[in-house]
Each structure stands twice: as C-alpha cells, then as structure tokens.
C-alpha cells in the first residue's frame, strides 16, 4: 500500500484549523440574528474572528482538539490494519506540529502519552464498501461537548416521555437544557434513536458528519429535526450560555432498529467548532472535502 501519511497529516490539519463552509455560514447567520451589543453577539464575533485567524495561521480553532474520530470506508482489498498504522503515524506527526494537543491520558497512572496514541485512542471505525475508492472522514470532538452528551432510556418518567417520537422530542430538549452553554453553544446535535447503548453513541456521532443544510430522507425525522431546532432555540440559552437566540445550529437524527425491551435515545452534542474533514483517494489522487485535486 502506498504511503499516505503526509496526506493524512493534511486531513488532520484541515480538520483542526478550519471549519466546514456550512458551519461557518450558520455561525454568520446566527450573528445576524443576535441584537448588536449583547454578550451573545460579542461571543459570536469572537468566534468568527477566531475562525478566520486560525485559518490564516493554520493554528487550531480550539485548543481542545479532542478525540480524533476516524470513520474509514475502504474498498475490497485494502488493509484496514495498514491504514490504521499510517493514520496513527500521521496523528503523531500532527501532534508534533501542534495541529493537535496531546490528549491521550492513561486513567490508571494519570500520564498523558504525549503523542495522542493510547489504548483505544484515537478512535477508528472501519467499514468495507462497494465503491472502488477510499474515504476517510475525521471529526475532532472536544471533551466539553463529550461531557454534555447523554443517553436516555424511554419511557423516561420525569418528563412523561413515552416510546414514540414525542418522547424522543422531550428528552432531546432536556439534553439541550442540561447542557446549557457548557458544550460550547451554539451546538449541533447528532441523535440516534434505537440501537444498543454502544452503537447508539457511534451512530449519533455519525450524524455529525451530515452537512447542516441537508434534508433527512425520512420525512418524520426531517420534520422532527426542524421542530427540535426551532424549539431548542426557544430555550434562549444562547451562545456560550449567555442568553440569546441561537442555542443550536442544527439537529441531525438517525434511527436504528432496537430491541423490544430497549428504546434508547442518544444525543451526541457537538460544539460550534464542528471540526470535520473528508479525504478521498480515487485512482491515486487525493481530494479533500469534496473539492478538486488536493484542495477544496
């Protein structure tokens, strides 16, 4: 297999130091909605200035470069083991170049490995697919947003939330309320309905790869996404929890089959700095974020 370590470093650099265009656009729209002179408007101004500065200097948008989550789709005949080893080398190099903060801490000794490698760190999801090209999606998800993510089990008595989409709506709003500004609002929600507990979180995080302006192909879910976005913003938690009109930038929901006895609703909260990037390799040519050769 060809050595693509440097291309993977570039994927990490792009994810850490720039925002996807749809997210930046949503932040600009949020800035327009807030009253000038409010703490909410000030926070969004700082966020937008920061994004421009980070892009210009190629420095991390946020110091918490999080857990790097790699979702890899590979064609028949590619070795996931070799891919993992190349991506791990790229992670070490990206840490050395200060695109990533060393974030892997051994819970037994309290020691930071210093290079972002550790047991279960970074996180990989490999899947073979029918396409004949390689796709690597990367999400950098910080600890603040991870701490306010939540999993509910329906029925949920405190909210009288039953085993239906109305119950889902109630617990998702509860999760947004509980997060307040702590996950770095305005956030983006990835929601998984159903599945087992572990798969619920994996699938909820997968939703975060969807562009903010896409439409859910399942009409019930599309309607629920719109309603939840509107209602979450009515909580008026606002940017950074300062109060304001934009509490969320988007809600993305997927549904998996569940066990008869289980009805989980898993909410993966992503901060405004939704640092996702995509790399594809077709016929030996590397492309990023759906763009042209080596560029967007």
């Amino acid at each position: 297999m060809e050595d693509r370590v440097e291309s993977f470093v570039e994927l990490i650099r792009r994810a850490a130091t720039d925002l996807p265009a749809d997210v930046e656009m949503a932040l600009r729209a949020a800035r327009e909605r807030e009253e000038p002179g409010t703490a909410a408007a000030g926070a969004l101004d700082a966020i937008l200035q920061n994004v421009e500065l980070a892009r210009k200097r190629s420095t991390p948008i946020c110091q918490d470069t999080g857990v790097p989550l790699f979702y890899v789709h590979y064609p028949v005949g590619t070795s996931p083991r070799l891919l993992r080893s190349q991506i791990e080398r790229a992670v070490v190099e990206a840490t050395r170049r200060a695109y990533l903060r060393p974030n892997a801490v051994d819970p037994l000794t309290g020691r930071n490995s210093g290079n972002n490698l550790g047991r279960g760190f970074p996180v990989f999801h490999f899947e073979e697919w029918e396409e004949n090209f390689l796709r690597v999606d990367l999400l950098l998800k910080g600890g603040g947003s991870e701490n306010v993510s939540a999993q509910y089990k329906l029925p949920y008595a405190p909210l009288k939330a039953g085993r239906d989409l109305e119950g889902v709506r109630k617990v998702v709003l509860d999760a947004v309320y509980r997060a307040q500004g702590k996950g770095c609002a305005p956030g983006i929600l990835g929601v998984a309905i159903g599945a087992d507990r572990g798969t619920g979180y994996v699938y909820a995080k997968e939703q975060l790869f969807r562009p903010l302006d896409d439409t859910n192909p399942v009409p019930e879910l599309a309607a629920l996404e719109d309603r939840l976005l509107r209602e979450a913003n009515e909580l008026s938690i606002g940017p950074m929890g300062f109060g304001g009109k934009t509490t969320l930038l988007g809600v993305k929901i997927g549904a998996y089959h569940r066990l008869p006895a289980c009805y989980f609703v898993t909410v993966a909260y992503m901060c405004w700095a939704c640092r996702r990037a995509r790399m594809e390799v077709r016929d030996g040519v590397v492309r990023y974020n759906g763009g042209g050769d080596g560029d967007v």
Binding site: A39, G42, A43, Q63, G114, L235, G243
Partner: protein
C-alpha cells in the same frame, strides 16, 4: 425575552491588570466586558485537585511541594487562575509559546474553587460555562469574580498571550494540565458571576428551565 437583551444599558468595559485590588473587583457587575493584562496562571483538573490535597486540606505542606507553594502564593494573591489546557509549541531557543488557548469547562472545579479562592486570595477565575453556588458565595465573601472567555476561540485568545514565563508540573500533569505562568495583554472576558451574588448562568438556567417546562408540557 433572552436575558442578555435586558442588561445592555448597564454593561461597562474595563481594563484591569494583575494583581487586581479588591475594590476594582467589587466594582464589576455581570455583563461587564474586561480586558485583562499581567501575569495569570493556568490550572485545571489535575492542578485543582493537587492544590487542595497538598496546600489546603492539610496540616502542613509537604517539604517537596513547598517551593511551588510559595511561588503560587505570590502569583495568585490578587491574581487570576485560568481554566485552560493549551496547545503549545517549543521554540528553538527552548522557550514555549501558546498556539491555541481557549477556556475549558469550569464546573468540574466546583468542588475545589471556593477553597482555592479563599486560600490564595484569588481575584478572578477565567473559564467557560460558569460555576456553582459555592464558588458564587466565595466570590461574594472574598472579593472575586468569574470571567467568561469565549469557548473555542483558541487562536484569538492565544494572540493575547504575550509571553510564557514558566511552567510547573509539566511532566507530572502533562501539557494540558500543567500550571503555565503567562503574561497576557488585553485578554477579552465577560463577567458572568460577580461579587454581588449575581450569576448569568443561574439566570439563564432558570429561564431555560421555564421554557423547557412549556415545551414538554410538564413542570421540571
């Protein structure tokens, strides 16, 4: 109506330099913007646990930790602690620089912060997300405020860090968790908890709880 819209007329802007006199801190109100300058110290989870276990809830500071204790007493008296785990880079001459340095979530330090404020005579805590009732009470009693920095605005804030003076406990705690002593200029923050017992976080929490009750059709 969102809370932030109602306070406009009262919001003021200040420039403060560490060490900050108590009077200047007591003059601040929630909603005020402050540009901070001078020496500040980063400290987050490991640092707070360490300070409480080695300096505060002990009969005597262990011999091995005494030098650092004296140094922190000097820096934190009238000083400011910053909940931050930076991305840093070491220059060829061996000096460090901050590349990205936004705030981390403060509430994790709630079990410790009131004691740290009281013990060292802190005048301010910088972080994000706000803190709880014990810290708010310590702010009132000892003359300190909570400064909210913009979460995720890491490159922008790193711009305000003019010098990394020194670092303590880097090997033991790791880069994100170490005590970094930094000199800042014009570090932009908003006061969200003041010495008058007011907290934006408490107010937004309350109003959003009411809104949630309306949306889910039951009292929370």
């Amino acid at each position: 109506m969102a809370w932030s819209g109602t306070m406009e007329a009262e919001m003021a802007t200040y420039e403060l330099e560490t060490p900050i006199p108590e009077g200047a801190i007591r003059a601040l109100h929630v909603g005020d913007t402050v540009y901070l300058s001078g020496l500040i110290v980063t400290g987050r989870d490991a640092a707070h646990k360490y300070m409480v276990e080695n300096f505060i809830r002990v009969e005597e500071v262990p011999e091995s930790e005494r030098a650092l204790y004296e140094e922190l007493r000097r820096l934190l008296n009238g000083g400011v602690i910053y909940h931050c785990g930076p991305v840093v880079r070491q220059r060829e001459d061996g000096r460090w620089e901050f590349v990205a340095a936004g705030p981390t979530t403060s509430i994790r330090e709630e079990p410790y912060e009131a004691d740290v404020i009281a013990h060292f005579g802190l005048r301010g805590v910088i972080g994000k997300g706000g803190m709880g009732p014990r810290t708010l009470q310590a702010c009132q009693e000892h003359g300190a405020v909570y400064f909210h920095a913009v979460g995720g605005a890491a490159s922008l804030i790193a711009d305000a860090v003019k010098e990394v003076v020194t670092v303590y406990k880097k090997e033991e705690f790791g880069i994100p968790e170490a005590f970094w002593v930094i000199r800042v200029e014009g570090f932009p923050v908003v006061v969200t908890m003041d010495t008058h017992g007011r907290s934006i976080h408490e107010q937004v929490e309350r109003s959003s709880r009411d809104a949630l009750g309306r949306l889910v059709g039951s009292a929370i």
